[in-house]
């Protein structure tokens, strides 16, 4: 039977222009057989949620380097809830201090992959969450 490919939206919210990490992860997920939709820079949280809905994404990966990860992630989680799609797997990447990881998880973020994370760990986590539950 033809398996549905895992669909991932890689998003850059807000004004931060550091997109190398997001693009590297996008390449790695593509290489691992996933369908990757990259939003491009300067996206509002509203746009990201809309893209996730339209693309029927399984996973939303948001990359933030400016230090604004807490308010932006909170906003994302609230809007996913409002749209009734809080079942999506949400990953946060970028420059995230250790002490903020529990806070992000409290917001409902599934996992945080900060700078220096292994690409294979990100791939494995997504596969586990998306294929494990099917």
């Amino acid at each position: 039977m033809h398996e549905k490919r895992i669909r991932v939206v890689i998003a850059k919210p807000g004004l931060d222009g550091h997109d190398t990490g997001a693009k590297v992860v996008a390449h790695a997920l593509k290489d691992a057989g996933m369908e990757v939709i990259y939003t491009g820079l300067h996206r509002q949280i509203e746009d990201i949620v809309k893209t996730a809905l339209e693309e029927d994404a399984d996973v939303i990966g948001m990359s933030i380097y400016s230090g604004a990860h807490l308010p932006l992630s909170k906003k994302l989680m609230t809007q996913l809830e409002e749209k009734g799609i809080s079942d999506k797997v949400v990953l946060i990447g970028g420059n995230i201090p250790k002490k903020d990881i529990p806070v992000l998880k409290e917001y409902g973020v599934d996992e945080v992959f900060s700078t220096g994370s292994k690409l294979e760990d990100i791939v494995a986590f997504i596969k586990d969450r998306c294929e494990g539950s099917k």
Binding site: L15, T20, G40, T115
Partner: protein
């Protein structure tokens, strides 16, 4: 351990794809003619340096990147750095400012004052430079799509300090093409963005002759994943695009080429970096002389800021970054840079603490004052390996430049996303090489430690900045002459719509205390916004 036999020696291939032999000798440099290919320092083709006596005459300028929160806080940090021997300023703006948004814009909210200082009106910039004599301190303004607005504000601050335009020294980064490739602060489409750079260059060549209107940045391209060869090749192609824009206005190359500045990155292999800069100087001199028929040798020199790049620093074992920074500064000095800046050891995480910023400054001072780096020009010149490698780098940079030109030039290559794809592919390749251990990063994939103890202190973010900036905008809007603002913005719109130079109406607009956001909106209305090619 037993010594390896020659045939068992490990292959060494540089990031730029150059295979390195274990030993170099006279046979490797036999066909290099000293006078035409290397030359005395200060003479064409400037391989060894752009001045005859380099640091013996004047050590490199030390210019750390700094700025955060309000103009007031930044002013305090500027004065502190100058008191400790820094010799110039390099201004960091927050992201809303860099993207032409006022602090009260809903899209700006989370970012006000975070990664640099917030500037909404001329009032903020006046405060940032309060008590700093800007005719004596050269300032680099790290801003791109709205660099024209910041230049106007800076000139207005100078005027208020009683300094005429022709005495103002400094640089606006103002390299929009590299923003589309890496760094990401772009607003308008490519063509009108380049037109703004042309307007500024034309205006400066006539009115602000000591100001560098743009600084072409290989730095961010390399930070985004490019190889050292791509860094130089893409930067040169970008510079060529700007030169063509300005020549199209009837200016002569010698009217402005002497004010073109470059900004390059340092991390990775020491020899490859040194050769990169020597090759870059030689190649750039040939391009300006042969392709653009410059006659004045000052037009042909590659003037650069080269600093320790954040891309080489690691989040793991952050104190190792102090050591890396020292080596990067050494490379920078061995490469003949004009200005040096170092990313601080905590900069992979946060805005540098005072302690970290001071260590970076001391690193450069120790090199200049203790280690003999200013004694003699280009001390690696004449090394069999370095001269051979300089030639190899030059050849490869030329090849990559040719690829861009075959594609139709840098403007087209960026508009279509070709360069962005090349760089992101290279970034992925490099990351895979790091993760597999093929590229060694100490503390990351070798000599790894459990690191509970090594969290650095984060720069505290002051949420009051937003409220402060918002109430300030309100105050200014209430007290300024509304009619003058309206008329100034109208004049700006007219200039933007025609081919009139935008700088004079911009000066009028900032002096009327129109906000950065109001001014940017005029440009957005006329020029539209860039549509990012998002294919990987």
């Amino acid at each position: 351990m037993k010594d390896k036999k020659p045939e068992e020696l490990k292959d060494v291939v540089l990031e730029s794809g150059i295979a390195v032999k274990p030993v170099y000798g006279p046979e490797d440099v036999g066909d290099i003619d000293y006078d035409t290919e290397i030359g005395q320092p200060g003479d064409f083709p400037f391989t060894r340096g752009i001045h005859p006596f380099m640091y013996r005459q004047r050590p490199w300028t030390m210019r750390q990147y700094s700025g955060f929160g309000t103009a007031e806080e930044t002013n305090e940090r500027f004065k502190w750095l100058l008191e400790h021997g820094q010799t110039a300023l390099n201004v960091a703006f927050d992201l809303p400012t860099q993207l032409g948004l006022d602090s009260d814009d809903p899209f700006a909210e989370e970012e006000v004052g975070r990664v640099g200082m917030a500037i909404d009106t001329l009032k903020d910039l006046e405060e940032a430079f309060d008590g700093i004599p800007i005719d004596r301190i050269s300032t680099s303004l790290t801003i791109n799509p709205v660099a024209s607005v910041m230049l106007a504000m800076y000139l207005a601050v100078a005027e208020k300090q009683g300094i005429p335009m022709d005495k103002v020294r400094g640089t606006t980064q103002n390299d929009i093409l590299k923003e589309y490739i890496g760094r990401g602060t772009w607003i308008f489409p490519v063509q009108p963005s380049i037109r703004l750079i042309g307007d500024m260059t034309e205006f400066c060549s006539q009115k602000v002759p000591r100001f560098n209107p743009f600084s072409v940045c290989g730095y961010h391209i390399r930070e985004s994943g490019a190889t050292p060869v791509q860094e130089m090749a893409y930067a040169f192609e970008i510079a060529i695009a700007y030169i063509q824009e300005v020549l199209g206005r009837g200016l002569k190359i010698d009217n402005f080429a002497g004010r073109i500045a470059f900004n390059f990155d340092i991390h990775g292999n020491l020899w490859e970096q040194v050769a990169k800069f020597r090759a870059g100087r030689r190649l750039w001199a040939k391009i300006v002389k042969e392709r653009f028929s410059a006659e004045n040798p000052r037009s042909m020199v590659l003037r650069m800021i080269a600093g320790g790049g954040g891309g080489g620093l690691t989040v793991q074992q952050p104190e190792n970054n102090i050591v890396r920074g020292a080596y990067y500064a050494l490379i920078s000095a061995l490469s003949g840079t004009q200005t040096m800046a170092l990313c601080s050891y905590d900069e992979a995480y946060t805005i540098p603490s005072k302690k970290a910023a001071l260590i970076s400054l001391r690193t450069m001072q120790i090199l200049a004052d203790e280690m003999g780096l200013t004694d003699t020009v280009d001390p690696l010149g004449g090394s069999y390996y370095i001269e051979w490698l300089t030639g190899e780098m030059e050849q490869r940079i030329t090849e990559v430049m040719q690829q861009v030109e075959d594609f139709g030039g840098m403007v087209k290559a960026v508009e279509t996303g070709y360069i962005q794809r090349e760089v992101s592919r290279q970034a992925y390749l490099r990351e895979k090489q790091i993760q597999s251990g093929e590229i060694v990063k100490v503390g990351v994939n070798k000599y790894v430690m459990d690191e509970e103890m090594s969290e650095v202190e984060f720069h505290p973010f002051n949420p009051e900045v937003i409220a402060k900036q918002k109430s300030r905008i309100k105050e200014i809007k209430a007290s300024r002459n509304g009619k003058e603002v309206k008329e100034a913005l109208k004049a700006l719109r007219k200039a933007a719509q025609t081919d009139e130079n935008v700088m004079p109406p911009l000066l009028r607009a900032v002096k009327s205390y129109a906000t950065l956001g109001e001014i940017t909106k005029v440009f957005k209305d006329v020029f539209g916004e860039f549509k990012e090619p998002v294919g990987l």
